[in-house]
């Protein structure tokens, strides 16, 4: 059982770093902004919900910074030693970080997605609040939270902020770029089904959902698998390595 004090400690640390609030605001602003631009430019026949929520592809980059900073920042300043003296059960500390980052991203993500959907509702007559659109919205918030957890796990492994962010963004951007050149439809679908960004964002599709290589919740499940694997790797490294 994670101690309330460990959670409180993480919350205090993240709350008192001046960057946090700006990163959260940045997530919201960039998500809504790109969503608004994409909504404006939507081609006829496009998926309105997916257009309105395009900004998530940009907003996630800020979530990555936020999550990575919670770990790498401590390693950079040596704060990690203090943290581990205060909470010697290392996995408790990681769990507390996971909970705090999820909570923060869920709040910021909800605001960002709500903003994007409101912009979409104003700009796109095709967009109505149907079941699939609600699923896409809730799914996008969860997507951002899972990206946060994935980044957190990888940051524990990599430790350096720049390297960790490079790894996470490279991992996310790999498949969308590579699949443009994959002409075998089986491989194309396989790659899109298995990689974190394309699988996770399948939750946003509301038109022709059956044609997607992966179902909406299944896709989010794939991303959750990635996040879990990253957290496990992080936990293992944290246990085994000197801080």
């Amino acid at each position: 059982m994670i101690g309330v004090s460990a959670l409180h400690a993480e919350w205090t640390k993240v709350r008192t770093v001046p960057g946090t609030i700006w990163l959260l605001l940045g997530t919201v602003a960039l998500t809504v902004l790109l969503g608004a631009l994409a909504t404006n430019a939507m081609a006829p026949g496009g998926d309105p919900a997916e257009s309105a929520l395009t900004g998530v592809a940009l907003g996630q980059a800020i979530v990555v910074i936020l999550a990575v900073a919670m770990v790498s920042g401590e390693y950079a300043t040596g704060m990690i030693h203090t943290s581990l003296i205060a909470v010697p059960k290392r996995l408790d500390m990681l769990a507390a970080k996971g909970i705090v980052v999820s909570a923060l991203v869920l709040v910021a993500g909800t605001v960002a997605v709500l903003g994007s959907i409101v912009v979409g509702l104003l700009a796109l007559p095709d967009l109505t609040l149907t079941g699939p659109v609600l699923r896409a919205s809730v799914g996008s918030v969860l997507y951002l939270a899972l990206i946060g957890l994935l980044s957190l796990g990888l940051a524990v492994v990599v430790r350096d902020a720049a390297a960790a962010i490079g790894v996470v963004l490279g991992l996310l951007y790999l498949t969308p770029i590579v699949t443009t050149l994959v002409s075998d439809p089986d491989w194309h679908d396989r790659l899109r089904r298995l990689s974190p960004m394309t699988a996770g964002l399948a939750v946003q599709s509301t038109v022709d959902v059956v044609a997607q290589p992966v179902g909406p919740w299944e896709g989010l499940g794939v991303l959750a698998g990635w996040a879990a694997a990253a957290l496990l790797a992080g936990a293992a490294v944290l246990r085994l390595r000197d801080a």
């Binding site: 081609a43 997916e50 592809a57 910074i65 900073a69 963004l169 951007y173």
Partner: protein, 484 residues
């Protein structure tokens, strides 16, 4: 300044992680480049069940892959001579680039050299030769026009007339076709393609089209063989093509086109830039190292030592930029120089065909990849100096350079915003890799996703340079004003 560069070089080369990170850019670029063709198999099958793989299109002069299919009503012309015909305008609903006119061609073999004067569906009268060359003639709305193509030695002249008496020369070209050529009248009509791009998907629908028009008052001068013969150059997929003649009036129905093939996503033709799809990953590695190269100075307080050793702060920034820029340039050049032949090998083995590129263009692509890496790394150093934080810096440069590229190239955005992104963001510099050629006389949609960047290679690179220069300017000012 020299000792300063030496100092920065020493800092760089003595951190093992940075060397590893930089070198990692090379295998990343190669392996991700291989991923594309490695995961490509041909599921399509031809009429006899054979795979499409290796079924290469005909190649025209200069080995460029071409489409060369049309209905040809021809006789053999030996030596100098000319052909004149009155050609009725193509119907209004014809494809914009449907063609009807007179042509002199080396033979009926697809891909052979030719010159033609022709009427098009919506693009007026033109003289074209050897697939890539095109000259527009005077425009007119008349129901029919006289076209004439004559050759004298290797000199071919195309003329057009509204009344058969007053002639306007469209162009004269030098083209050696040999003593005996096939000459006559032709009609072609390209595939009708409608491409619907939406988020995350491209949907192309289309089908073959036919065009029919009439030729009369046909006159030949010179040494021509006796009878008009019909030929479906390139093999016609439709039974309706062919010609009829009655009283000197020819009615010709054709399909196909006479054009260079332009690269498009998922086609069997591969361009040099398609082998370099992994460059973005190599670039991320370079950006991470470039960022750490500067932000670690601030993190560890080394910057105070550096500035104590050389108090002229601008020089420190310059030395860092020189060192990281040079290293990144070399890494980019090596990565591209290895990737291109390795991936092309696999592409050919998989049955793709390659668009030919001149050595000069290939060198530009390889050098361009080096420049892309170098200037991006300098941008990262400048942003790192401004922000002093590794995480923020890496995110800013990756999101600034790689994300717009991703959004444009992966068809995640429709062509309008995709063009805009690859114009105003540093991702414009990926144009340095473009080898795909845009032909004004070939109907294709030339979008970024197919490798056609809105800016020229130099223009796109200039955009990145402007970003880097502005960032360096701000970094210089900040470094001078701020306490270290």
């Amino acid at each position: 300044m020299r000792s300063l560069i030496h100092a920065e070089w020493t800092k760089f080369r003595t951190v093992r992680g940075w060397i590893v990170g930089m070198l990692l850019a090379i295998p990343l670029t190669v392996l991700i480049g291989l991923l594309g063709p490695a995961t490509s198999n041909f599921s399509c099958a031809g009429p006899n069940g054979e795979s499409c793989a290796g079924r290469n299109p005909p190649t025209g002069p200069g080995d460029i892959p071409v489409i060369d299919a049309f209905t040809f009503v021809h006789r053999t012309l030996t030596g100098d001579g000319s052909i004149t015909a009155r050609v009725a305008a193509l119907p209004d609903n014809a494809e914009p680039w449907a063609k009807a006119g007179v042509i002199l061609k080396q033979g009926t073999e697809p891909g052979s050299s030719y010159a033609a004067v022709l009427l098009t569906g919506h693009h007026g009268v033109r003289m074209q030769h050897n697939y890539t060359e095109d000259v527009a003639g005077p425009s007119s709305n008349q129901d029919s026009q006289w076209l004439r193509l004559s050759r004298k030695g290797d000199s071919l002249t195309g003329e057009v007339s509204l009344d058969g008496e007053r002639w306007v020369t469209i162009s004269t070209v030098q083209l050696g076709l040999g003593e005996r050529v096939q000459a006559g009248m032709f009609v072609s009509s390209p595939q009708h393609v409608e491409i619907n791009r939406s988020f995350g998907g491209v949907d192309a629908t289309g089908g073959l089209t036919l065009a029919t028009t009439t030729f009369d008052e046909v006159r030949t001068d010179g040494d021509w063989s006796a009878d008009w013969q019909g030929a479906d150059v390139g093999g016609s997929p439709d039974d309706a093509t062919g010609f009829t003649e009655s009283g000197g009036e020819f009615t010709i129905t054709g399909t196909g086109d006479i054009v260079p093939i332009t690269p498009s996503l998922g086609s069997l033709g591969k361009t040099v830039e398609s082998t370099l799809i992994g460059v973005f990953a190599g670039l991320i590695a370079v950006l991470v190292v470039a960022t750490m190269f500067v932000t670690s100075e601030f993190r560890r307080g080394l910057v105070r030592t550096s500035l104590a050793a050389n108090p002229r702060r601008g020089q420190l920034l310059a030395a860092k930029a020189v060192v990281i820029g040079s290293v990144s340039f070399v890494v980019g050049v090596v990565a591209a120089a290895i990737t291109i032949p390795v991936v092309e090998n696999l592409e050919v083995a998989k049955g793709f065909f390659l668009f030919p590129t001149s050595t000069l263009t290939e060198l530009r692509v390889i050098g361009g990849t080096g420049l892309l890496f170098a200037v991006s790394a300098v941008l990262a150093v400048a942003v790192g100096t401004l922000l002093r934080r590794g995480g923020g810096t890496v995110t800013v440069v990756i999101v600034g350079i790689v994300l717009p590229y991703l959004l444009a190239i992966a068809s995640m955005l429709p062509p309008g915003p995709a063009d805009w992104l690859t114009t105003v963001t540093p991702a414009a510099a990926f144009a340095l890799q473009q080898t795909a050629v845009e032909y004004p006389q070939v109907a294709s949609d030339y979008v970024t996703a197919d490798g056609f960047f809105p800016l020229s290679p130099a223009g796109g690179f200039a955009v990145l340079c402007v970003y880097a220069a502005v960032a360096v300017g701000f970094a210089f000012a900040a470094l001078r004003r701020r306490d270290a």
